[in-house]
């Protein structure tokens, strides 16, 4: 069960308890708020941040008539979601550039948060926007850190400034900026060593780099899987250096990423980018609203809609709809539709963006993409005539199709049967649509 289902279910339960009572007591609200509190804590939002947040939401929930709505639980979640977005910042924040180039970005953070990879990703992203970046290797401590940045640089074909690990990082940074001026680089990205926020010596070093090169933006790189400690880390770095923005990494995993909220709440600084994968192109602008949904476990609906829009051709969709209504939907159309779904990405990924779906929920749903491949192979092994009119497919044709697609006759039979049922469903749906808009029924695809 996903957190979202869990949360809305529990809220509904709480609400059912006081349904006949006419009005919500303080205790009722308290019970509801406890569920929300637990949900946020499970998502790793810092405890203090949760407390403040709950106080805010309580006020709004008490003021509104949540009981009036058909699904009060959902309504409370909406309030929570709104407040989350409010807290995370409504608009997307971008990095800014100095009017006097070169613009200097300084990457800071704990060990293992992903500074070096992120430096490379940023260089690549901003080069696409017309910048000429220079990467600077200031991590003289971790074994092979400089080499890592050099490899990343060569993969991207972005120059890396390094003068070895025997020179003070402050001097490296200074030299790099001079070098950038000479070489006409308008963007300098300084990769610093990972350090604990309580290591004073190393924190002083960062302060000295800052004084020496006066960076336009100091970006704090935070692992999205960070737990309760995220506030201490963000607070320390921000107090010492004055952070300008945050980059959240490793968001391609299954963490809810409550740290995002904690970090934003304690620093007040916007999250500007999100690292989404292993490849050097896997960096995206950060969308606060999507993150709010993710923390609450509501799925990344917006991203899904966008993906669907990218992949889906509206004209074709209209045609398809008409065909469905008029019972002219053929296996040919079905194949095409399947390919469009595939364009949206791996099914598992697409499904995970839906509300109520998370890795736990998907654990038992084995979406066998191989099966989809089988279905595709079967349809592709049919003649055009067979695809447009499956009724002509007799025994020997079935045998041929099975052999041609490398499947069994049973599989071919099953597909044909499921397809017929699907067609009936479409018909039933459009018939229903004529009378009322409700009632989708169970919709089963043949894979």
């Amino acid at each position: 069960m996903s957190l979202f289902e869990g949360l809305s279910g529990k809220l509904q339960e709480t609400i059912n308890k006081f349904k006949g009572k006419g009005r919500v007591t303080e205790k009722d609200v308290k019970d509801m708020m406890r569920e929300i509190k637990l949900a946020l804590l499970e998502a790793d939002v810092n405890f203090k941040v949760v407390k403040d947040f709950i106080n805010k939401v309580s006020e709004r929930a008490v003021g509104q008539d949540v009981l009036e709505s058909l699904t009060p639980g959902q309504q409370v979640i909406k309030i929570v979601n709104d407040e989350l977005i409010e807290l995370m910042g409504r608009v997307q924040s971008k990095v800014t550039f100095s009017s006097k180039p070169p613009t200097v970005f300084m990457m800071v953070g704990l060990q293992g948060s992903g500074k070096t990879t992120t430096s490379g990703k940023l260089a690549s992203l901003l080069r696409k926007q017309g910048k000429s970046p220079l990467l600077v290797a200031c991590d003289i401590y971790r074994p092979a850190a400089i080499k890592q940045l050099q490899v990343v640089g060569s993969q991207l074909n972005v120059p890396v400034f390094s003068i070895g690990d025997k020179i003070n990082p402050v001097d490296i940074a200074k030299a790099a900026v001079e070098h950038a001026k000479l070489q006409q680089h308008d963007l300098v990205i300084i990769d610093t060593a990972g350090r604990l926020h309580i290591n004073e010596e190393l924190m002083d070093e960062l302060e000295n780099i800052k004084k020496a090169v006066n960076p336009h933006e100091i970006l704090l790189v935070v692992d999205s899987m960070t737990g309760q400690d995220a506030v201490n880390v963000a607070e320390s770095f921000n107090n010492k250096l004055g952070v300008d923005g945050i980059v959240l990494t490793k968001l391609d995993g299954d963490t809810r990423g409550g740290a995002a909220l904690s970090v934003k709440a304690v620093t007040g600084k916007p999250i500007k980018f999100a690292g989404m994968g292993e490849k050097l192109s896997d960096i995206e602008p950060f969308f606060p609203d999507r993150m709010a949904s993710r923390i609450l476990g509501m799925g990344d609906v917006l991203s899904l809609i966008e993906k669907a829009q990218e992949a889906f051709d509206e004209k074709k969709a209209l045609e398809l709809e008409k065909k469905m209504r008029t019972q002219q939907f053929t296996l040919e159309d079905f194949l095409e539709q399947m390919q469009q779904v595939k364009k949206m990405g791996p099914l598992q990924q697409v499904l995970s963006m839906l509300p109520g779906m998370n890795s736990k929920a998907l654990e038992n749903v084995d979406i066998d993409e191989k099966k989809m491949l089988h279905v595709e192979a079967i349809i592709k092994s049919m003649t055009r005539q067979e695809r447009n009119d499956p009724s002509v497919i007799n025994g020997s044709r079935r045998k041929r199709i099975a052999a041609g697609s490398g499947t069994t006759i049973q599989e071919v039979n099953k597909l044909l049967k499921d397809f017929e049922e699907m067609k009936k469903m479409f018909k039933a749906m459009s018939d229903m649509g004529k009378h009322n808009k409700k009632g989708m029924g169970k919709f089963r695809l043949p894979f």
């Binding site: 637990l38 804590l41 499970e42 998502a43 790793d44 810092n46 405890f47 704990l110 060990q111 293992g112 948060s113 992903g114 070096t116 971790r142 074994p143 092979a144 850190a145 080499k147 890592q148 940045l149 050099q150 490899v151 990343v152 993969q155 604990l196 926020h197 309580i198 692992d223 899987m225 960070t226 737990g227 309760q228 400690d229 995220a230 201490n232 880390v233 490793k250 391609d252 995993g253 299954d254 963490t255 809810r256 409550g258 740290a259 292993e278 890795s359």
Partner: protein
């Protein structure tokens, strides 16, 4: 410095964090009431213990308080300590490396400190007179091989490597042959950091396992999952998913020298029964310690 002192030094932050707060709570409450338990619950949660485990601990604590008719709030702390010890207890926290060669395979998500931990483990056993060989199985991340090589030189052990981008299973195969030929006692295999949600990368781990099964069927093997102490509830998901493709025998908990409390190990032990075997408490080569549940909890509550 004795082991206990070193552990304490490393855990000072953890101890201060949890016990100071608990003491504060106990001082400020004169009697045992619901609010006291709620405060205790908060303390565990802010240490990343997680809700499920925290709830279980608090429930058990309440029962015990009732059963034993405790009226002194300070006694509640003793009971909580007992409760934590009972969760964390494990008979088997030693690394099981009885054969020569024995194998240690080190896995985990990106950036938790796998390579550094390997350097420290290699050093630990080298000090004990063991012949150690390292396998550079992280062929994916830029300069990961160089990083391990620096560690190998630092410790003074052999490293088996191929070029970046090569098949990790092939590297491990080579390393096994070398371990046999050089009569090594312990072969430690590095692997690339991978998010547990990436199926193909998890399959790659399987392949490495199969090579070891085939080439060293009778060798002792430790599969150590490295977890970053700053990680929150996702560590449970990591432990669960990695368990599915590897028989995890223990956890190495790193970066305990920061302000992170590392309470997640309590949740993992409680929910998945995977013992913590080693902890990383600093950046120095010998900042790796054997985990003892008893002493871990003792140190927390000192």
């Amino acid at each position: 410095m004795g082991f206990f002192d070193r552990l304490k030094e490393g855990l000072q932050k953890t101890r201060k964090g949890i016990t100071e707060k608990i003491d504060q709570v106990l001082v400020s409450f004169g009697k045992i009431d619901e609010e006291l338990f709620e405060e205790l619950e908060e303390i565990l949660i802010t240490s990343d213990v997680g809700i499920e485990t925290t709830s279980k601990i608090i429930e058990d604590l309440k029962k015990k308080v009732k059963e034993k008719k405790v009226i002194d709030p300070k006694m509640v702390k003793e009971l909580l300590k007992e409760e934590l010890v009972s969760i964390m207890q494990d008979e088997d926290t030693d690394l099981n490396l009885n054969t020569s060669p024995s194998v240690i395979i080190v896995i985990g998500v990106n950036g938790v400190g796998k390579t550094t931990s390997i350097g420290k483990i290699a050093n630990l056993y080298k000090q004990r007179g063991k012949r150690v060989i390292l396998a550079a199985g992280d062929t994916f991340r830029a300069a990961a091989i160089d990083q391990l090589e620096i560690w190998a030189n630092r410790v003074g052990v052999d490293l088996i490597k191929q070029s970046e981008g090569s098949d990790p299973a092939a590297v491990v195969y080579d390393a096994v042959q070398s371990a046999k030929a050089r009569k090594a006692d312990i072969l430690i295999c590095d692997t690339a950091g991978r998010l547990h949600t990436k199926k193909n990368l998890m399959d790659e781990l399987n392949k490495v396992s199969r090579v070891l099964d085939r080439e060293l069927p009778n060798s002792s093997r430790e599969t150590l999952l490295v977890l970053d102490a700053t990680t929150g509830q996702n560590a449970i998901s990591q432990a669960k998913t990695f368990s599915e493709c590897a028989n995890i025998t223990g956890i190495v908990l790193t970066k305990l020298d920061g302000t992170a409390k590392g309470g997640i190990v309590i949740a993992i032990k409680n929910e998945l029964n995977i013992p913590v075997k080693l902890i990383g408490v600093g950046e120095k080569i010998d900042d790796l310690q054997r985990f003892s549940s008893q002493e871990f909890v003792e140190a927390l509550f000192e």
